[in-house]
Symmetry: C2
Subunit: 343 residues, 2 copies
Amino acid sequence: MTWCSAPFESRTVQLAHGGGGRAMKRLIDRMFLPAFAAAGDVPHDSAVCVLGSERIAFTTDSFVVSPLFFPGGDIGTLAVVGTVNDLAMAGAVPRVLSAAFILEEGFLLDDLGRVVESMRRSAEECGVRIVTGDTKVVPRGKGDGVFITTAGIGTVAEGVLVHPGRVVAGDVVLVSGDLGRHGIAVLSVRDGIAFDSPVSSDCAPLHRLTGALCAGGLDVHFMRDATRGGLASVLNECAEGARVDVVVEESGIPVSDGVACACELLGFDPLYVACEGRMVVVVSAAEANEALGRMRSLPEGRGAVCIGEVREARGRGQVALRTRYGTERRLDLLSGEQLPRIC
Amino acid sequence: MTWCSAPFESRTVQLAHGGGGRAMKRLIDRMFLPAFAAAGDVPHDSAVCVLGSERIAFTTDSFVVSPLFFPGGDIGTLAVVGTVNDLAMAGAVPRVLSAAFILEEGFLLDDLGRVVESMRRSAEECGVRIVTGDTKVVPRGKGDGVFITTAGIGTVAEGVLVHPGRVVAGDVVLVSGDLGRHGIAVLSVRDGIAFDSPVSSDCAPLHRLTGALCAGGLDVHFMRDATRGGLASVLNECAEGARVDVVVEESGIPVSDGVACACELLGFDPLYVACEGRMVVVVSAAEANEALGRMRSLPEGRGAVCIGEVREARGRGQVALRTRYGTERRLDLLSGEQLPRIC
């Protein structure tokens, strides 16, 4: 492949290239996929591969969150939970993880110890083992304390097939709880911004929810955790992947008072703010109540609600928000970077 | 686990914690293993896990080499080949890789394109696919161009069991070619140090060599690629893991003139300089010739030679070098950092 930077607006990497919005999608579509993807590959947070007689899900994420410690978690919690959730979203049972550390010279060993302890605790909670790892050190000023990259392997049961292409008109869109707490929690401790009512991250493993959803009988068409780029990005992925229109009701989307206030104050749209323990689920209308019941039976899905529906696409597939005033506005992918380094 | 920094000489991360020597071993033994390892785990570059009916090897490495481009390769080549080699050393056939990028704001997209193209080419050469990935961006001054973390999965054939514990007195020690070219090649382009006779990295995949060695009949007791910490570190791992003494002959260890000159000039010991395409193999004396023949039949093993032997341990197991003058000196693990950021 001969590659040139012509199809990009810039000759250099911008913060927006990591933001989960349009710039990142362009980088992936124009640089990474042409080099690495095979014909017919469906981009997903986890790849599903056949190894001998097993179907496995395989995924990776780097974590560069700043600051490292925030209300409700730290980079270690995120590194385990984030990768477990990516596996869960492929319908897999998470099994083993790897953890690679890039440490900056001068980083406090006590802080590293706290992070490692969070990872141990999270792995235990998720029922996975961290079986292999790596340690690199970069000189002062060439890193930022610690970056952690985890990869994970899960096993996919026979018959499980979760894929945006399976979404059809008439389906309904569910979310597992209130949105945007992770992004606001990280922001609240960054650069000394503090809110009256502290917001704690929603960071939590979702594998029990996906396990309950995928168990016998219920046919989940699509599920995805709403991380970078928030709810709006997941809905766009779904609309684009299935070539359908998705319409969600503003009044039905759960956002806590703390997140709503913070977003109002800072000019953010909560539908684009990252979660680390919330997921979007698409099922047929007939199975919506069963799916909601299963989700609500677990603490991490107690706040599950239906927020919208899927329709035939009028164009190439897009997402619309029906506002409290009865009007509709388009929810597009972010074109810039709203909240850098939230994971 | 309550963890405190008391067992460390320092309260902060030092460059030596990433150097492959004693400080890194201490960090792993005292912080990572107590949190992550289960009883009976044998530390290895790859973990071997049973998933359903398959035995798989799983490994990860972060790459932070500086500079990104060096004679004989770049960070992209290393990121693919390094992980493929870790899988190969567990006796596995490398199958799929993940790739996670931490980009620094302002990094040239053209340079990223060159790195991605190297990864594509290396993956093709190694017969593996890069099936999943991630992209994060950190602000200028919080990274260094690009860091890449790859993880890899391979399948391990029945009957293959490669493990330092299998090494016994009477075995012989082989290397697949001349040592230290990778470390010197990276150094030669760093900080403007240049040598008259340019040294090119030995960076190369080793999975064909390990495949040839593990094929029917031959019983490989131990194999390991000599990366950070060089030959001396691999031999120490073997001596410690099997509680044996390893004795190698200085005159038999292949080092190219270019590497020897550079080491002489800079005061390095080539036995501690990293390779990225050389491996140590331990087999019984009776199978040494067969193993050497199989290695020499492939271009990447053309320079394979026998460099020493394994003896009953007189103490806890250590490594000795028999010099050209007939004396013996101990080859211990590095206690500081000789060459930071060579991978």
